[in-house]
Amino acid sequence: MTESIIQMEGLRFAYPDSERSAVAGVDLQIARGSFVAVLGHNGSGKSTLSKLMNGILVPTEGRVLVNGVDTRDESRLLEVRRTVGMVFQNPDNQIVASVVEDDVAFAPENLGVEPAEIRQRVDEALQRVGMYAFRLHAPHLLSGGQKQRVAIAGVLAMRPDCIILDEPTAMLDPIGRREVLGAVRELRRGRGMTVVLITHHMEECIYADRLIVMSGGRVEMDGTPRQVFSQVEKLRGLGLTVPETVSLLDGLNRSGILPAPLPLDALTVAECADAVADVFRRREKK
């Protein structure tokens, strides 16, 4: 067992018929048990990177090791896929069965898991994403957020060490988004699952341990969300915005009126309000 569950070395990938590399030289290690968010605009290479992480795509150059297994080794591809499960953007494209629990059972059945064990895994996976009460429902009648949680349960039932979610909330309304993000954060409890969340919503990255910003197929920034989001200029230069909290603090700082700059790493609403209120309070005392 290595410290990092996924290891990318000198990674390059170009789609056939394309002169441009979608991933153009990436070296990254994903630590076991960590929650990593990957942020980038459309075409930044973030989705391609995620597909390289579980062998859906194999590198044009360089290599990806999943638990030490090279994804180019076709004989061990199943092992790679069992280790790293994947959830995609559109829930409608990921659901195969006409009953929720059958859908969740699909992957373990294919892996040849014993029926009694499947039952247990399915129940547990559905409970974890808060969809157990819907186990006998028809997936097509569920809301987007519910369907996406069923898709996550389907991956969980394989008992992967790592789950990659590629823009899982892009097609959902605010309620669905909240449900799915709640489920994602819940994944980390207990078992030490590694979570990689690909997104272009800044707010979804706030709770990650580590935030990687991709642009032009390369890693442009890499640090804690606080470190990354406080570099407002750089993010804007990459065509990304910052959370509204940081945008407010940055705007106040730029006015030059306040006695000292406010900290740009106050990401949550409460932290931001604390930072602003603090400046006002300190002046009153004088």
């Binding site: 605010p174 065509g239 407010l248 705007g251 006695p259 002046r283 004088k286």
Partner: protein
């Protein structure tokens, strides 16, 4: 005079079956010429059903829809013309592209209007320019374009009909911040240059707060709020109870108020909150 007015509109799906469901319940609403109205409501609130009545795609179970004072179901000719005068861009419109080339896809709507070829061509190019569809794409298959480019082509197809009312159901869903901003700017440009009335459905409270003159909130098939963004976001707690979010600036302003900072009015954009905080700072004693 309002360009669109809706009187006591009710829509019941599958009436008389065990699946009967009232999606819109007794909604009355007037939209003025040139207004930019943000439509808010969570999935299942009835907003999409409502919008599909505005260009005659759905027929009311009860109630009437008037365009320029005329009942849209009053005559066949009227119903036919409403399809062109009220343009509806659905969610994920890129899934509805079907022609062999981008040009032909954008030309489909004006083609149905019975216009001359030259006029169609002019409209296609104009619509394409409005939404940033490159002229070089015209002879490509829509399938060769990226998701964001396809979205633009689909919107151009509706704009090419030069509708007096443009309705967009989440035109920016799934796009990244840069793509979102650019499509919203295109829509604003279209409105500025043509004086069109725009109805914009969005889950992004930050976007509607910034852009709309007026917000209409749907909940359980009814209109529960209707007013200027300031009035609507003043009722942040109610919105949250309905499962809706409020703009980040409104949340921050609420939190500041709880921390004893005297923010006198409702806030819904970050820019305004910033301005207000700075003027509070200055009025309370200069250098500090």
């Amino acid at each position: 005079m309002p360009i669109l007015s809706v009187e006591h509109l009710t829509h019941v799906y599958s009436q008389g079956t065990p699946f009967e469901k009232t999606a819109v319940r007794d909604v009355s609403l007037s939209i003025n010429q040139g207004e930019l109205v943000g439509i808010i409501g969570h999935t299942g609130s009835g907003k999409s059903t409502f919008l599909q009545h505005l260009n005659g795609l759905l027929k009311p179970t009860a109630g009437k829809v008037f365009l320029d004072g005329e009942d849209i179901h009053g005559s066949r000719d009227m119903l036919h013309s409403v399809r062109f005068r009220v343009g509806l861009v659905f969610q994920y419109p890129e899934y509805q592209l079907f022609e062999e080339t981008v040009f032909r896809d954008i030309a489909f709507g004006p083609g149905n209007m019975g216009l001359a070829a030259e006029e169609i061509r002019e409209r296609v190019l104009e619509a394409a320019a409005f939404v940033g569809v490159d002229e070089g794409w015209m002879e490509l298959s829509p399938l060769e374009l990226s998701g964001g480019q396809k979205r633009r082509v689909a919107i151009a197809g509706v704009i090419a009909m030069r509708p007096a009312v443009l309705i967009l159901d989440e035109p920016t869903a799934g796009l990244d911040p840069a793509g979102r901003e650019s499509i919203l700017q295109n829509i604003l440009d279209y409105r500025r240059r043509t004086g069109a009335t725009v109805l914009l459905v969005s889950h992004s409270m930050d976007d509607v707060a910034r852009l709309a003159d007026r917000l209409v909130v749907f909940h359980n098939g009814a209109v529960v709020m209707d007013g200027a963004p300031a009035q609507v976001f003043d009722r942040a707690e109610e919105l949250k109870e309905m499962g809706l979010t409020v703009p980040a600036a409104t949340e921050i302003a609420l939190a500041l108020r709880q921390r004893g900072i005297d923010i006198p009015e409702s806030i819904y954009t970050t820019k305004y909150l910033q301005k207000l905080l700075l003027s509070l700072w200055e009025s309370a004693g200069g250098e500090g």
